[in-house]
Amino acid sequence: MEILIGKYNYWIYIGLMMIGFYAMVAKKNLVKKVVGMNIFQTAIILFFISTSYKKNATIPIIIKSQEVIEPIQYINPLPHVLMLTAIVVMVSTFGVALAVIVMLYKQYKTLEEDEIIEILKDKK
């Protein structure tokens, strides 16, 4: 039981990730795929961020005045940094994916994968 409570952050991110992953693999609509991709990455970000938390600690902006700094008092800044990077990466991937989708739409006038495949079959 205390596993469920003590690690609930993990359960949440696993759930999110599964949703996103399923959307990526199973959905036929290209935009839905990409949205799934975003959910997937968001889940990972959630995972990282949740690892940085320490019970009753504050954000890592050190108060100048105090003379002795206790790492216990401040949450771990590293995951935040990594995730800033990951977010940007995610945004960029999203942008590129959308650009490609736009090109696809220009070519095939549809965003359904199977319809596109149909069109290609007819071409052959």
Binding site: G6, Y22, I69, V91
Partner: protein, 93 residues
């Protein structure tokens, strides 16, 4: 296809859940991540970089190269969008 996807997803989920049991609890201040590398950032950020915001100092200084990399990534995204989509006058494509 759908069933195949579901199987993959469930498999991955199983691995994730299985591995979770060995992970430190949420907010545990003694988890390895909190004690190995990160304390230095918190303790030394002011005296080494004169920047109270540890996130900023780590972002732009301790791991500055990552940030350069990520700036490059977003730069890439822009270049890619221009390369793929922009059509000023060329009638081709």
């Amino acid at each position: 296809m759908k069933i195949f996807a579901i199987i993959i997803v469930i498999l991955t989920g199983a691995v994730l859940i299985y591995s979770t049991f060995d992970m430190p609890d949420w907010g545990n201040p003694n988890s390895p991540a909190s004690v190995h590398v990160s304390p230095r950032y918190i303790e030394k950020t002011i005296e080494e970089t004169a920047t109270p915001n540890a996130v900023t100092s780590v972002l732009a200084d301790y791991r500055g190269f990552d940030t350069l990399g990520e700036t490059i990534v977003i730069f890439t995204a822009a270049i890619v969008c221009i390369l793929l989509l922009r059509r000023e006058d060329d009638k081709t494509h």
